[in-house]
Symmetry: C2
Subunit: 561 residues, 2 copies
């Protein structure tokens, strides 16, 4: 296996008969999935998603793939193929289209409906090309065939890309539920046929490669949902992802059986389920759905709410219910069903919500105490099937942290793919497929691009480092006004601090030290603002580091007046 | 079950024949365990631990129990009984002793050795009373009997407190491993005997009450450890808690079998294992242990390191190895064994370490891919045994978040304890045991006490809220100097911002707006600093909220010079 190295250079130009693959996101993290395929000067983008920030990205709303590599080559992009409608695969499309609005978007009916709704919010009307499984479309030099795959959102597709330089099968996100709710299987017959034809590079979803065995079928959580409906004394409040059409379907089915009315709560839930119902992916039993405003017309034991917030998002309906900050006042006898995964990093937030709801007297059913969730990704056992059916020449694990990619690579090796034909790459690493052999040939710059409010990519690691210091230690700002004419202190030192100490009293200790240090410096004829700021910084730094044993951000300000 | 309410009042004085129980920590969170038992004007403290902060406590080092209730009653405290030597049970002792140095500390030999080492760092020499299982000690009015319990640290004790007002059995942290490494079982025969005598209130560890079944014996991870030793090509690096003597024992045993040398890395690991070995709790095979500095004398495939950092702590040895910031340069062929739990909230940090080590080429064996950890707490099945053996009159679940306490309470009810005799209380809630009946009678103030650097309890929620704003949005400070004589602007506006925008360019947009707003205000004769600051705040706030869609902290400063 080839390991990427930070010392990788920019690659040489691609051989005329070669295919180049660069992930601009999704390799080394779970999210912002995006791959660029290149042949003969043309580019094909597969997915363009967002990454949700972790605690070391304080205050960041979203993280985008790094488009820098594409910026001079926007005209070469033939299309953006979207494998399915999840945020981590489509969420960054608006930001890419802002660079060039007329790049065609290719995807299945549901996927296009979801991206169009998103683009509408950004006031962009895209050029789209609807495709479905079994279809074959020429996108520039790329001859693309689409294959049905099963995932935690309907209408997901894998894409097989034929080029004169070689073929690539990209699974997108997928699993292999053999009894899916919508009877739409991952099409292993197509995988077999394409394998027979020859798959030069197999790009496979690594998310669950560390998980042994097989992902449980979606159907198998029905008993746990039924039990909730049997046992619930008053309202049932279901929290799940707003794109999980099949999960919502199961709740609707259970509600119909139980004679309960269902209301959707939360903007994205209402919007997505509206789209899914309109397009026929969600089958709403007659008379089951009601507007949330009409819920008061029904007794509590005939009511179901389906809402967002299963990850403990503080502004979502569920967190607000837990904090008694929502019109739905959860109380004794209510049952909350969190029918969702627990994404690593969200544990504390989710447990805060669970504890809050339980404190109000609700019964909370979740992944930790009932079988109310199954994953949307293929486990190790399923991936072995894939490798054995496709028999690819080369493998490049995608979608995952390093540990996931490594686990997926090991599975490929176990099925007989030669170790040197399994390419481990991270974001920005350039993989060339030439004469049937894939290898790492270099790397292009590929950083995190942060979205914060309305600004995109306008701040970087240095700013996040500042935020981490402010978060952990707060700051002290000390201002003095120097009389420009005399070089003497005209006002100050004025001390401002936040996140550092409650009591301004404490500054009486350091104020004389600053005054003395400044007096010495100005006495020695120092008048330069920058030098005086350094003098103040040292005086404060010595005090907080020694006396208080803390390291706040120190901001000395000299104003010449 | 009694639910605590925020509107609970201070309780009336305790009845002469009653026993009062107040948890000052540990009920509503996992950590800072501390219970106070009162009878006839005397107090007994059971445990005094710390809580490790979460992401919504930015920059906090530790969280202590709230000692406020004790501050006027320090002379009434007869003793601090420590059930075992974990930080969440002993870590706050130094802070309590700083209020009164001569409160006797009662505990087992290992527990006392660990607290004495900790107190030495705080330059406190405590008064101690060593006890062991089977012993009975009179501590003021409290007649205490100690019972062996099994936990993830040796020498843990439950305590049975006899008072004229009733009896209390407090388990401390425990599980019921039936084949423990040291053959020291949780003494169910003693539990049975005390149950026969009569347990008026049973205070039980709730940590694993949500987990069905039985906690796997510590012995059962030996095969996974052996496999690591069989398969490892070069070094083996084991990360685990620095108090987990039995886990380290298993590693030492495996190393002896494999003919490898072991070095301890990390201050707390070296210190604690030194104590454990000296007192006979850790049996170091002859010639196995070497100093880390001598490791270079041995080939890589004859070496084991045992270090801290299993929770992804950034300054611990393991994180530093993952970041190539440690003298041990982890590389291809090395095996890292993370023989520890993954405490909720630490997932991202731990996965960062795992990914980092794997990127360096190491094979990482952890809880997620091998049976290399078992819990230290009794699961639901074990707790049922306890309730059935003790047959307590009243039950008060301790040690856990609300969801854990509720789960534990349900177990008690299932074994036949009347629901109204199961008391659910949070920190500060006052439970009185009178005439054999326990009930909530009020609450005392009980907040979080934060330790940050050398300051204890000197800041509060308001400061943490400031830090959260600074973390998420940064700040903008705008300074103007007003000529005190003329009321005109003498200098500024000078804009300082951190964590907000990289590019000062952006402020050219708002500077004229501030100048204009100030000119208007001063033109209208406003000279008051506070009023001018409000003018600046509005001008900046409107700009960032509207134009940039962000909400940084805004700090306007007017200096009269």
């Amino acid at each position: 296996m080839s390991h990427p190295h930070p010392e990788l250079n920019l690659p040489r130009p691609l051989a005329k008969n070669g295919v180049r693959i660069i992930a601009l996101g999704g390799l080394g993290e779970v999210g912002r999935n995006m791959a660029v395929i290149e042949h003969d000067g043309q580019l094909l983008v597969i997915d363009c998603g967002v990454l949700f920030p972790e605690d070391h990205h304080p205050g960041v709303d979203l993280i985008l793939p790094d488009f820098e590599y594409l910026e001079d080559r926007l005209d070469d992009i033939q299309a953006i193929v979207l494998t399915h409608g999840h945020e981590d695969h489509i969420g960054a499309v608006p930001y890419l289209l802002k660079l060039k609005r007329d790049i065609p978007i290719v995807g299945s009916m549901l996927t296009l409906a979801l991206i169009e709704a998103k683009l509408k919010e950004h006031r962009i009307t895209p050029y789209t090309l609807g495709v479905k499984e079994g279809m074959r479309e020429r996108l520039g030099v790329f001859d693309c065939e689409f294959v049905a795959v099963n995932h935690s959102i309907p209408d997901a597709l894998a894409v097989f890309v034929r080029t004169p330089g070689g073929t690539i099968l990209h699974t997108g996100d997928f699993k292999m539920d053999q009894l899916p709710l919508d009877n739409r299987l991952t099409d292993l017959r197509a995988f077999a046929r394409l394998g027979e034809e020859g798959v030069d590079l197999f790009m496979t979803d690594s998310t669950n490669a560390e998980v042994p065995g097989f992902t449980t079928p979606e159907k198998d959580i029905a008993p746990a949902i039924d039990k909730v409906f049997r046992d619930a004394e008053r309202r049932i409040i279901v929290a799940c992802f707003s794109s999980h059409v099949h999960r919502v379907q199961q709740v609707l089915n259970a509600a119909e059986k139980a004679g309960r009315k269902v209301a959707m709560v939360g903007r994205s839930m209402v919007r997505n389920m509206g789209i899914a119902a309109e397009l026929g992916y969600l089958h709403v039993p007659d008379g089951v759905l009601v507007d949330v405003k009409k819920l008061d017309n029904f007794p509590d034991d005939q009511v179901v709410l389906i809402c967002t917030g299963s990850q403990g998002e503080p502004m979502a309906a569920l967190s607000r219910m837990a904090n008694r900050d929502h019109r739905i006042d959860v109380g004794v006898g209510d049952t909350v069903l969190m029918a969702s995964s627990l994404i690593p990093g969200n544990e504390n937030a989710v447990y805060r919500v669970i504890n809050g709801l339980m404190r109000l007297g609700a019964n909370v059913v979740h992944k930790g105490n009932a079988k109310v969730h199954v994953s949307g990704h293929a486990s190790a056992g399923e991936l072995l099937y894939c490798y054995n059916i496709v028999k690819p020449r080369n493998v490049m694990p995608v979608h995952g942290e390093w540990r996931h990619l490594v686990a997926n690579a090991e599975l490929a090796v176990q099925t007989g793919v030669p170790r040197e034909q399994v390419v481990l790459a991270e974001d920005g690493v350039v993989v060339d497929l030439v004469d049937g052999v894939a290898s790492v040939v270099g790397a292009v710059p590929c950083g995190y691009v942060y979205v914060d409010g309305s600004s995109v990519g306008e701040f970087d690691e240095a700013l996040l480092k500042d935020r981490r210091i402010l978060r952990d230690e707060g700051f002290i700002s000390v201002i003095v006004v120097i009389d420009a004419a005399t070089g003497k202190i005209a006002a100050g030192p004025e001390i401002q601090a936040r996140g550092f100490a409650e009591d301004d009293e404490i500054f009486s200790q350091v104020r004389p030290k600053i005054e003395q240090a400044l007096a010495e410096a100005t006495g020695n004829g120092v008048t330069d603002s920058h030098q005086l700021e350094q003098v103040m910084r040292r005086a404060i730094g010595g005090w907080v580091g020694g006396k208080i044993r803390r390291r706040p951000m120190i901001i000395p300000v000299v104003i010449q007046a």
